[in-house]
């Protein structure tokens, strides 16, 4: 699948933002005054920038409001609702922290839960797609939630962030391991896709068109898979291992800042791979994967 920069930036930043809002909403930190403004502002900023970035890859962004209408069947529509609901419901808690209004903490709990629900809905947009076997399994939501929780905990300056980062490392290794075998497990080939396997062994005799098209650009993105193993090592190190090590060594504010930057760069790399490595079954009709 084509790794569109807007979608990668959106899902990484909004994931980390909602992760931070989750910990702020639950009251793991009790900032007040300017610190509260900046901290909540960071959470809101990441979440909102991410959501705005996601509209950049739309063909008709001016109609984006329509994405709220089909929540009954569409995960993308549910994501739209969950994100707005989380941001609205957490607002009183954010204001209370900033202006010292002393609102009871449980006010933030529902919003915190919705922040995680938002991340889950984002992950289901990908996990629901049967035509992309690498995405279509339960580890996809687990991976998105692990990123949000680990990233959120680092941004919230929590001492247990190192534990969540280690868990993230395990999830990444698992999803790569499982993902690599997913296409083969689906057992779709050019023969089964065309149904011509009932006659014999099928190969492409002549392509349907000599020029490129939307399908080849969007769904049959094969460049960049070559360096996948190296990029995985980089993603694992930057997103999880190095930040976890940093936080074990020191608990200073600057270590958290460094760990957060490192983690986000690693997360962007991992998300790029999530798209670039995903094979759509339509590639089979073209004799590709």
């Amino acid at each position: 699948m084509h790794p569109a920069p807007s979608v990668i930036v959106f899902s990484v930043l909004s994931g980390a933002g909602f992760g931070l809002l989750f910990f702020l909403g639950l009251g793991f930190v009790h900032p007040s005054g300017l610190v509260a403004f900046l901290w909540w502002g960071l959470g809101y900023g990441l979440a909102v920038i991410g959501l705005l970035a996601s509209t950049f890859h739309l063909g008709n962004p001016k109609r984006a409001w329509r994405a709220f209408t089909q929540w009954q069947t569409s995960w993308l529509s549910r994501e739209a609702w969950a994100s707005v609901a989380a941001l609205v419901l957490l607002a009183p808690m954010a204001l209370s922290d900033w202006l010292d209004l002393g609102l009871p903490r449980p006010f933030g709990w529902l919003g915190a839960a919705l922040a995680l629900v938002t991340v889950f809905t984002t992950s289901m947009i990908y996990a629901q797609i049967k035509a992309v076997p690498r995405w279509h399994h339960w580890l996809t939501p687990v991976m998105f939630l692990s990123f949000a929780l680990a990233g959120g905990a680092v941004l919230a300056g929590q001492s247990f962030a190192a534990v969540l980062l280690s868990a993230l490392a395990a999830v990444l290794l698992a999803i790569w391991q499982v993902g690599d075998g997913q296409f083969a497990r689906r057992a779709q080939t050019l023969g089964t896709a065309t149904g011509l396997d009932r006659i014999g062994e099928v190969t492409v005799f002549e392509q349907a068109h000599t020029a490129g098209n939307y399908l080849l650009r969007e769904m049959i993105f094969v460049v960049g898979r070559k360096h996948a193993q190296k990029l995985r090592a980089i993603a694992l190190a930057l997103a999880a291992v190095i930040p976890a090590a940093l936080l074990v060594i020191s608990g200073e504010v600057w270590t958290f800042a460094l760990a957060a930057i490192c983690h986000l760069i690693g997360a962007l790399t991992a998300r790029w791979l999530f798209f670039a490595q995903a094979e759509h079954v339509v590639g089979l009709f073209y004799g590709k994967r």
């Binding site: 009954q72 993308l76 035509a131 065309t194 062994e201 492409v204």
Partner: protein
Amino acid sequence: MTCLPVSTEKRLGLAIDLDTCVGCQACVTACKGWNDQGYGVPLSDQNPYGAEPSGVFLNRVHSYAVQPIEGEAQTINFPRSCLHCEDAPCVTVCPTGASYKRSEDGIVLVNEDACIGCGLCAWACPYGAREMDAEAGVMKKCTLCVDRIYNENLPEEDREPACVRGCPTGARHFGDFADPDSKVSRLSAERSGYALMPDLGTKPVNRYLPPRKKDVRQDASILAPLLDIKASGFAGWLDRVLGKI
């Protein structure tokens, strides 16, 4: 609405005959020609006369070489357009309600005025039946020529999809699969018509008719008996004399 109808009155679709299709691409051209000026925005091309042309088509024809375990290899031409699935995943993923399946005849359509061009439906379709229009930023797909099949301004024989009408070998058939006596239903039953990738649960309406069984090639030439003519008369005498030298 992106909720799928529980059932549709008709199940309109195509039966595509892989035996007769010669891969001439006439349906591709007929489809592009009709839909360029029919339903919705035109099917735009980018850089059509340049080095890297690209454009939207609602129907593509592949060519495959198929080698059976025994016998000769075959070339099989394979048209690919929307199968108007009963459990269309492209419809349910759509966040705006632009994609929908009609309850009266089962045709899957895009309301281009509501489409935000997110591309999610094209991801969800396993068959590559949807292509985004780069000019208008909306999703295009086969309409089953909804603006022809009910169009009373057209002569009756033209009230079928452009690809069906344009096919010189009659390899594409249009009809109602919900009616067991329709031409497409009977063809599909007689010729063991099959659905594409049924295990993905999309329940396609369109059916592909597999190529008929091919004759076995005869190793001896059918001209062989003719080559064994005994020469007579002067030619026979010459043949005998020359044979002795």
